[in-house]
Symmetry: C2
Subunit: 393 residues, 2 copies
Amino acid sequence: MLNFEISLPTRMVLGRGVQERAGEFLKKFDATKVLLHYGSDRIKRTGLFDQIAASIAREGISYIELGGVQPNPRLALVREGIALCKREGVDFVLAIGGGSVIDSAKAIAHGTAYDGDVWDFFTYKVPVTKTIGIGTVLTLPAAGSECSMSCVITKEEGWLKRGVNTELNRPLFSLLNPELCTTLPREQVAYGAIDMICHIMERYFTNTPDVQVTDRMAEGVIMAAMEAAKTAYADPTDYEAQAQLMWCSTLAHNNILGVGKEQDWSSHQMEHELSALYDVPHGAGLAVLFPAWMRYVYKHDVRRFAQFANRIFGIVIDPFDLEKTALAGIEALEAFLRGLNLPLKLHELGIGEDRLMEMAQKTKKTNLPAEETVGGFVHLSTQDCYNIFKSAL
Amino acid sequence: MLNFEISLPTRMVLGRGVQERAGEFLKKFDATKVLLHYGSDRIKRTGLFDQIAASIAREGISYIELGGVQPNPRLALVREGIALCKREGVDFVLAIGGGSVIDSAKAIAHGTAYDGDVWDFFTYKVPVTKTIGIGTVLTLPAAGSECSMSCVITKEEGWLKRGVNTELNRPLFSLLNPELCTTLPREQVAYGAIDMICHIMERYFTNTPDVQVTDRMAEGVIMAAMEAAKTAYADPTDYEAQAQLMWCSTLAHNNILGVGKEQDWSSHQMEHELSALYDVPHGAGLAVLFPAWMRYVYKHDVRRFAQFANRIFGIVIDPFDLEKTALAGIEALEAFLRGLNLPLKLHELGIGEDRLMEMAQKTKKTNLPAEETVGGFVHLSTQDCYNIFKSAL
């Protein structure tokens, strides 16, 4: 096990009706003027916006609003939000939505507390050293941004999708009401499930020995997430399955399942380039690329892939043929994804081979700050990235 | 799943040499005068005290010291520490030790920030509303106090062992160096292992349905803790096994494995009375009482005990005889405990039947504030507690 540090200060609140407590938590964290940040007008039609606004008004806190966040959240809107917050003296951003809205809110909060251009953080020109308050009302379990150190923004010019990791990305509080997920379209349930499962697998495939505790916990959360995903995909109105998924989403990416180990993340980096260029759902891109990555790298440590197959899917380990066991595990994962009607090949997303090398080259450059390789489990060259994209055609 | 709230703000730092960072973290948390609180002089003979003192001195922070904490930490020393802290203007208590030292430090910190008698907190006369800074350098993985909301103190008059739960019990930081555990006597490794495993099992046996995520995580940590315990018991110098145990200790009791569910805790409450009266090691008492409790209550939900047997010990579930499966799981747990040379019966601790009813009656009274029953999974009467004690003779 590697030396590590972790704290999870975000106040996580999960249960029925918890969005009604937004005002209570904003007051607790000394908010005086709040930006309510969201995506489409759907939250107004469902009444969610009004419930939250009313709970804030009850505490005598004022607010303004900015909607319009798109999947793969855009820098232009972040800049608009920063200008608005500075002009209006906002000291707290409350995200109402999924990972895209939350990431947009994080970037707005950091930019509001900074005199320069917010993109500086995403090019690692300057570190994030201060921010204003950030809270969330989660509506889509997937990205884990409600408790994570991550924030990923897309710059429209050149379609660059870049992330910044900092402790300041952890929200002060997150309100998780599974009831809000029961009206999600089935494909959103599926995209969310594969995203959280990939967040765990990116941490699971490691070269660090002696990580039994995190291995066992990760396996447990993957199994629970898969079961809940099947149930919620079959019937999104199932409150209990949605509750499991919401909690898995948080656990998958707050790094409690990643401490003390080298992690990989090459599939996520490749997918960032894919969705930046083609604007496909992140979950759809991951469903294609993660199994492709697994098939490309499994021989690097066939024992770990055999353990994955055995502990997640109950596949009996053949000690005479670990490779067969490993491949059976990858096939079982693909069968799970197919069961959620997720794509397994790029052509299912309408993507051909014309821009594969461009994405491979951008994947390498994304890996800031200034590391030479992509991936911690297996270091991938540009050619390796190209090969994985190509194998997924 | 029940509605829940959780945050884990304690900065957990695990790795080689981390005690050398005590000064850095004390400075980060604005300590100006620190009480170094510990048990025996062993930490002076090993050089640990001097390493920590030197790191504090490097930051220009002053300190005083108070040793002498005993297992089942005593109220008298807590009161002495509070008087000392008030007299000397101490604003931070750094515990160097295991759960007893940390609990004593927590009580001192709360009492220092309070004008009345510290025992008021433990009789639920007043809630803990403020405290001074608390940090830890952990030397014994067991109680999980390094990240938990718990604090348990024993009042010598009447040998009352009482706990108080509050968010203010979570330390600001905890430094976990597994190297410090490699000189532990083997029986301490065993006592620590059963304590952390029981902390998980007290949460695992629940009547709350739809808690798959926490079930799976709990099973994972129990399995990893058992494997690490066997290794570390056979060879306490095994750094990696001690690292697993240190991390399990924290996870077992910071409530990440207990959210959203009704918990039990009757075995712990009964053991508190046992160790308060007979001053036996907490781990030894738990090794006797937890299996006795299991055998007394398993019929309440034989399916959950069968799941435990299957997932923890790989026992094949007999769908025609779940009871047989359940009992096989309890037997497997007992075999694990025997493998660590832990006692399974009270007579092995030199305890006879003369004071069983006294302990049963005190167990009921312990269950403050003012609840009528002990235990969340199965509500136990005084007679039930007596029966369990008696079955363990």
